[in-house]
């Protein structure tokens, strides 16, 4: 052991003197638990990394960081460079393949969960899935490992769940004989807060704005947006199953069996085609269910001439009902209505032209 390492080990031992004090051992365990209870903003982590990488490229920092590593010729760096080269190659192939093939949902596999599922949603980072059952919110990672279980109010029906954009909360609807309420549950602490009490008017669909400030909902036959941190509630239009685009500029909804695009700022409505349950995949692509074709259709609704691209899910799955994607649109879950009371969930990947 070198002198430096020995010195470090001495410091390590000294630093842990207090941990060996039995009178405060419980307090230290408590502090550690408290530390782990502080949620990390993983969405910020992802977004900020992209920003920093862009800035590094501008500064030429990437090149600078690589040069000394090459001089050292460490195995770690060689592996990193090789991985990067492979990654770039995979991305290029994917881009070329995607450009040639158009939007598609692929690699679908059933999610291994036995409970009776009412609804489900994919986390914004695509790494977790929240399941709404009659009595619990169940949080799983995408490998099928259960992370948390949050009890729901007894003697209430529940009907919709939606991840918040930061991924630390999930909104859901509970309905009893007196009222229909929207709650937001902290997925890691379990605390729940009431967002909206609709009285005896049923709420049936939930969709967060990307800044997390609003929930777009279907209240009876109307589309409303509800503030998630105040009592403000704004009626948008007549319609069902609203979905707000990532920029917040457009709301897709169903109106009399047709998908419409509402521009809140410009006060415009554009008809897209026959269908239901619209869902934005990213700022460009919107997916909805065409009950006549029994398939999901992808469209770019902002183009003048709207081309409908069938995703072919009805060939792969029985009775697909809803599609939810991660923020980057690359991971998806498909909810299938196996029968009146049974829902199954499939995980997959998607690509967009």
């Amino acid at each position: 052991m070198s002198g430096g390492q020995k010195e470090n080990m001495d410091l390590f031992k000294q630093a842990h003197d207090e941990e060996r004090d039995p009178t405060i051992a419980k307090l230290l365990v408590h502090l550690k638990t408290m530390r782990e209870a502080v949620p990390v903003n993983y969405q910020l982590k992802k977004d900020l990394k992209q920003k920093l990488l862009a800035q590094m490229q501008q500064m030429g920092e990437v090149k600078k960081a690589e040069e000394p590593a090459f001089q050292n010729k460490s195995k770690r760096t060689r592996r990193w460079v090789t991985s990067l080269a492979i990654l770039i190659a995979v991305i290029m192939i994917s881009v070329i393949w995607g450009t040639r093939q158009g939007p598609a949902i692929e690699n679908l596999n059933p999610f291994p969960i036995q409970n009776d599922i009412v609804d489900a949603d994919l986390s914004p980072d695509g790494k977790q899935v929240i399941f709404l059952t009659r009595d619990h919110l169940l949080l799983y990672d995408t490998k099928g490992q259960k992370i948390n279980s949050i009890p729901l109010p007894e003697q209430s029906e529940v009907n919709a769940v939606a991840y918040s954009p930061l991924g630390h909360e999930a909104a859901f609807v509970s309905q009893d004989q007196q009222s229909s309420k929207i709650w937001a549950a902290n997925l890691y602490g379990g605390a729940k807060r009431l967002i909206y009490d609709a009285g005896d008017v049923p709420i049936q669909s939930l969709n967060w704005s990307s800044d997390g400030k609003w929930l777009y909902v279907q209240k009876a036959g109307e589309i409303w947006k509800l503030s998630t941190n105040s009592t403000q509630a704004v009626k948008i239009a007549q319609g069902l199953q609203p979905s707000v685009s990532p920029s917040g500029n457009h709301i897709a909804a169903e109106q009399n069996g047709e998908i419409i695009l509402i521009s809140e700022k410009e006060d415009q409505v554009k008809k897209i085609g026959n269908g239901e349950k619209p869902q934005w995949m990213n700022e460009k692509w919107l997916v909805f269910f065409d009950s006549a074709k029994q398939d999901f259709i992808a469209v770019n609704p902002l183009e003048e001439s709207i081309e409908q691209v069938p995703l072919g899910l009805s060939d792969k799955l029985s009775l697909p009902r809803e599609l939810h994607s991660s923020t980057n649109g690359l991971e998806v879950i498909v909810i299938c209505q196996e029968n009146k009371n049974e829902v199954s969930v499939y995980m997959g990947t998607s690509r967009w032209r």
Partner: protein, 192 residues
Amino acid sequence: MGMPVKKERTAEDPAMFQRESYENRDFSELYDEYFDRINRYLRSRVHNMWDADDLTTVVFMKALEKFHQYDRRNLFASWIFRIAHNTFIDYLRKVKEYPMEPGEWMNGSHEDHDDTWQPEKNLLNDEQIQFLHKKLEQLTQDQRDVLSLRYFGDLKISQVAEVLGKTESSVKMISHRGLRQLQKLYEMEGQG
């Protein structure tokens, strides 16, 4: 707790000493490792989580800007936490407030929470965290700095000393007294 599982290197990990003699990772790798700790540290100290997230962004932007000044023979943890702590101090000066306002930590205002609906018993709830905050508020500023860096930033004594510009013995003393005081406060409330 059901936090997303990611193994972080901590002060309790002796293997890290093998690696830290010379830091040869690039900024991107260091960012991946340290984001969680910096974000948690700032969220534990700042009035609300939105400000904490803004400060986290500021810390890493500053770090990238000054990364060429970072001496790779020194610990990155001390360097980045010094930036984080100084950013936090600047923030306090600007807003003229002190950290850890009880009830407005982590999840926004206390009024946002539904007190009528108790969470599952075995899960942590905001009440415990707010309780800890109230108790930390009763410590001295030095004690809060040391305990926050040590137990929320997960730094070693030597690293806390570097960040705060104090000697290790001084930090150990402050840490020891802070913990004792905190223990007493917990015992007084019957939660020790």
